[in-house]
Symmetry: D2
Subunit: 137 residues, 4 copies
């Protein structure tokens, strides 16, 4: 089930070309990830503070389709896919609300669960596996 | 009349000390300024794109009282003060919602209206002067 | 011919996991792009201020291999590839200097030249085409 | 003894007004602080990773005098002042190299040493006290 996060584009997101600085699409999509985890009852501080297990991002991909500017109302819709017991991907579509609504970017990230001590792969914690299943495309 | 903007603290706001990176308080307060301008009907893209007049910040001050971490729910309350026909200040209080609600930072910025061509001071545009009056402490 | 840019990892680059925030790899690679353009005599302010032609990024890809932390000495090596008269790609390798030297990330961006007024594709300006040829893999 | 750090202004530093986004002056000055600590032999990862003692910033002040744009060559000169056994301040001047050289901003930060467990003030570690003495105005 897709999850949608709404976000106004801020002056801090922009660069001297007057539009959202291209790395910031990844940061904005990560906000949607955080909001979605929180909505499923996962506590962010301990999740990202990671003493036991950490979930680093191993890959990211962005297609930039239309620029976004300060004040634009954006919607970021995410769906997930399991890549095995210890990894998953998230696909995001970033829209600018209109009318007409326009697709601004497509983003994909891959995440791997590892033990911070050994750096070895480890099965996803149950709450995260449930979150992946909940938002599977 | 004070204006309050609500904002969840994001992973992107934090640094390796696990808390909001200190320059980001200014960026978060600027979001409250943007939201408040938009709420009073000022169009952000042209306001910050500034062909005719620009409103650069001439001073900023922050007192950091309590750290904020990823997932915290914050409220940023702003009030304004006129400093003359061509300048104004904004005072912000950043709270972390609780319970109990705690003051995390006090921020103040000063803004000057200038002509981008001559760099000379110029009276505030009417819509901005009205915004300053509307939110005066 | 490859171009290498050296960069110390800063506290501002990090996040609450204690390592470089993943979107910031794109920003750090863009610095290498800027430094390389400047080294070939291209004036950055007018290049990125873009009245006549703009060079937005249409795609980005990152593989994150090893985390980087505050104080690390990094080297970013770029090479280019022409994708036609109006577009090119840049491949980056981000290393952490050691000893031993370790590959931290592989990054790729695609760039398209367009006219800002019509949003239509346009041949690269001569100085940029020369830069692409100079750094071709 | 003053310490000077040289830094090219990057596209990532700028905002839609075409100049350095005002919170980023604090981040750029923090880079000068990091570089200066490293030059005096303080290891940044453990310093900012802070298990034993942490040095949060309690206040910051910036006067913005002249805008900086992408490609500008800047110099950030810092001097320190002791504020007691457990705190100190840093004064920064940010210049744009010319000719002529121009002052772009004046920045001041105050830092307090605390124990991360008790949040109580604690005397500066010896290496940091020596750094403060070394760069006293």
């Amino acid at each position: 089930m897709a999850f949608t996060y709404r976000r106004t584009i801020r002056f801090a997101d922009t660069d001297a070309a007057g539009v959202v600085f291209f790395p910031n699409y990844l940061a904005i999509c990560h906000e949607a990830y955080e909001e979605s985890l929180a909505a499923d009852g996962i506590e962010l501080r301990s999740f990202f503070g990671g003493q036991d297990l950490v979930m680093p991002i191993s890959k990211s991909q962005v297609e930039y389709l239309r620029p976004l500017t300060c004040g634009d109302k954006a919607g970021i819709t995410l769906t997930t896919a399991s890549l095995g017991p210890d990894s998953f991907s998230i696909s995001y579509e970033v829209h600018r609300f209109g009318p007409p609504k326009k697709l601004a970017a497509r983003v994909c990230t891959e995440h791997v669960c590892i033990s911070p001590r050994t750096r070895e792969r480890h099965a996803l914690p149950a709450a995260l596996a449930a979150w992946v299943a909940h938002h599977a495309a």
